[in-house]
């Protein structure tokens, strides 16, 4: 039985459907990442869960209880905001102590101190508890806001892209620390991000949000290797996946791909039907070489650029189709751009999508 159950959730603003018939089942203690492009409704979804906004239709069940109509303060849910939302007129200590004071009216002062100090030390902000938010660095603000959302050990923590507004160094540190801290509390985490690397690094499962619903809910590895649609495939990966229209024909043990007369083989055991489709191949799944081999195609060099310690080449097939291929730096040194260049495709690493619906055909 799942712990948090989103059933046909919908929300629109005037005629704008932001969330439509969204479904998900989230387990207790799970790190559930909601990933989607900006404007896809991630924050709206979080606001529905926290009670800041009310859904138009559908149900939110927590531990088998419907919580749709409950006010934010009545839900056992806490949230860290993207903009931190600290109380500017209270010191960091009081900011963090706020949930304790609200929910446990009779908690003795020394117990509050103990709990605040414990979470503050865990998040390494024990030394700034006496400062006002405006005296804190962005990283400290973000940790204070996290501490506030965790101090009362809520059942569900909602994190709205908490690493968006901190610099790269802190972001990386937190990406390492956060899962460790959250595991210690054994809470269910719903984490919003629009950085696919962050999603893949943190999530037990990733839900990909666009068009108002979750289009994939799966482990990071499965989503990357087996995206349900071209849109999902495009969202994961940098540079994005190559895709082109082609006619495919199943041969003995491989698939023959015909792109405007340029024919190559993808060795793939698949139940796919012959016909037109979209072929998707990630840049790192294309091998670039100066040597001709049995199943390679001659390409023309266009340009190259470094990206995250890899080198991305833009090459052009004879029929005008342009493809991105990415190689490691070492591999790129072995390639002479002034000689003839050939590409071949790594076996099994290609995807076929329906030309109309863009769904994965496998």
């Amino acid at each position: 039985m799942s712990y948090l159950d989103l059933d046909n959730l919908s929300k629109s603003f005037k005629d704008d459907k932001i969330i439509s018939n969204l479904n998900a089942k989230i387990e207790k203690g799970e790190f559930f990442v909601v990933f989607g492009p900006s404007g896809s409704g991630k924050t709206v979804l979080l606001r529905l869960l926290s009670g800041i906004m009310m859904s138009d239709s559908g149900e939110i069940k927590m531990d088998n209880q419907i919580i749709n109509e409950l006010h934010p303060e009545e839900r056992d849910v806490s949230m860290a905001f993207q903009n931190f939302a600290l109380y500017p007129h209270m010191k960091a200590f009081e900011n963090i102590a706020s949930p304790l004071r609200a929910k446990n009216k009779n908690m003795p002062e020394n117990e509050i101190h103990e709990k605040v100090n414990e979470i503050a030390n865990l998040l390494k902000i024990g030394h700034v508890l006496n400062q006002f938010p405006k005296e804190l660095s962005n990283g400290q603000k973000q940790r204070t806001s996290l501490a506030r959302s965790l101090v009362d050990k809520p059942s569900v923590v909602l994190l709205d892209d908490p690493l968006r507004n901190v610099d790269a160094k802190i972001r990386f540190e937190m990406r390492l620390e956060l899962p460790k801290v959250l595991k210690e509390f054994n809470t269910t985490v719903i984490y919003i991000t629009q950085d696919f690397r962050e999603a893949m690094a943190l999530g037990d499962r990733i839900a990909v949000l666009y068009d108002g619903k979750f289009n994939d809910i799966d482990s990071p590895k499965n989503i990357y290797q087996n995206p349900s649609s071209l849109t999902t495939a495009k969202l994961f990966g940098d540079p994005t996946i190559n895709n082109f229209d082609a006619t495919i024909k199943k041969q003995d043990g491989f698939v023959e791909v015909d792109v405007n007369g340029e024919i190559f083989n993808l060795k793939k055991n698949t139940k796919i039907q012959d016909g037109k489709c979209i072929v998707g191949i990630r840049p790192e799944d294309i091998v670039l070489s100066n040597d001709h081999s049995e199943n390679s195609i001659e390409v023309e060099f266009r340009t190259k650029t470094p990206l995250n310690l890899r080198i991305v080449f833009l090459v052009r097939l004879k029929n005008g189709l342009e493809l991105l291929c990415s190689t490691t730096e070492e591999e790129s040194h072995l390639i002479d751009e002034n000689k003839k260049m050939y590409i071949s495709f790594i076996e099994e690493k290609s995807h076929f999508f329906d030309i109309e619906t863009k769904r994965n055909l496998e």
């Binding site: 006010h71 303060e73 949230m79 903009n83 600290l86 109380y87 500017p88």
Partner: protein
């Protein structure tokens, strides 16, 4: 060297500016310690023997001016009236205006903008335009010459002012801060009281001070809608001018005394006016 010249020039510039603004006040202050004869002398005197006669007269309600009959003034009562009217109308304005400003800032409701603008438009209408009908209405329903009626009418001046200033301050507070407080487990009212109000405090303080000054300085409404029993100092000072004499010393003294409360209040509220509390709570 050049710095010295500059700083000397700057010093004189400051002196000139301060003189320009403070001279009338200083002169009035001076006058309040002079007798009428000293004031009316053709060549003004700089050195004189200060007298507290004006202040004592003002307090006791009667003053004898050389060569004229004794004058009776109700300045003490006027001062009390001013205090009742100003404090009363600012209190009512705060009570009505702060929640209203919050509503206009946070909730988009049908006709909301129209209502807000209508309230603002009360400030456009010249007081003289509405004073006669108001006078008739108030006589009819028995409100003429009551503190209640004047405080009510003062809302025309103070309420829109506070509403529009404080509304801006509420709009500047990120709603997320309030949501965060509610997610901590506090009720809506607690978040209003503990988050919204304290964060808008500089605005509320500034607006209250302005409202107080406007209410304190109001002349026309008090002149027409009340008798001498409830009239504030602004109107009461008129009584100093009689057919037989214009006691300048007494008038100056009245001005000094009536300016003091606003001055003290402004000094007291100053610290709230300059507080930029909201800075740094949100990213950036």
């Amino acid at each position: 060297m050049s710095i010295n010249v500059w700083s000397i020039l700057k010093f004189f510039a400051y002196v000139a500016i301060i003189m320009f603004f403070l001279f009338p006040i200083a002169w009035i202050f001076n006058m309040s310690f002079m007798t009428n004869d000293e004031i009316l002398r053709k060549v003004p005197v700089l050195f004189y023997e200060p007298t507290f006669k004006n202040y004592i007269g003002l307090w006791e309600g009667e003053i004898a001016i050389e060569g004229f009959a004794t004058m009776y003034v109700y300045f003490k009562q006027n001062l009390i009236n001013s205090a009742i009217l100003s404090v009363g109308s600012v209190s009512v304005t705060l009570l009505l205006g702060v929640p209203a400003a919050y509503a206009f800032a946070r909730y988009k409701f049908k006709g909301g903008e129209d209502i807000a603008f209508t309230l603002l438009s009360f400030r456009f209408a010249p007081a003289l335009l509405i004073i006669l009908p108001l006078n008739l209405y108030f006589s009819e329903i028995g409100l003429y010459d009551s503190y209640f009626a004047l405080i009510w009418v003062y809302q025309l001046i103070t309420l829109p002012l506070l509403l529009w200033i404080v509304r801006g301050y509420f709009e500047d507070i990120s709603p997320d801060i309030e949501y965060a407080y509610r997610l901590d487990g506090h009720s809506w009212f607690q978040s209003f009281w503990k988050i919204s109000i304290p964060l808008a405090k500089p605005g509320i303080a500034a607006a209250s001070l302005l409202c107080f000054i406007y209410a304190w300085n109001n002349f026309v409404f008090a002149l027409i809608l009340g008798s001498s029993q409830i009239q504030p100092v602004t109107v009461g000072a008129l009584a100093f001018i009689t057919a037989s004499a214009i006691p300048y010393g007494l008038i100056a003294c009245g001005i000094v005394v009536s300016v003091l409360p606003t001055l003290i209040l402004a000094l007291f509220i100053q610290k709230y006016l300059v507080q930029g509390l909201s800075l740094g709570a949100i990213k950036g």
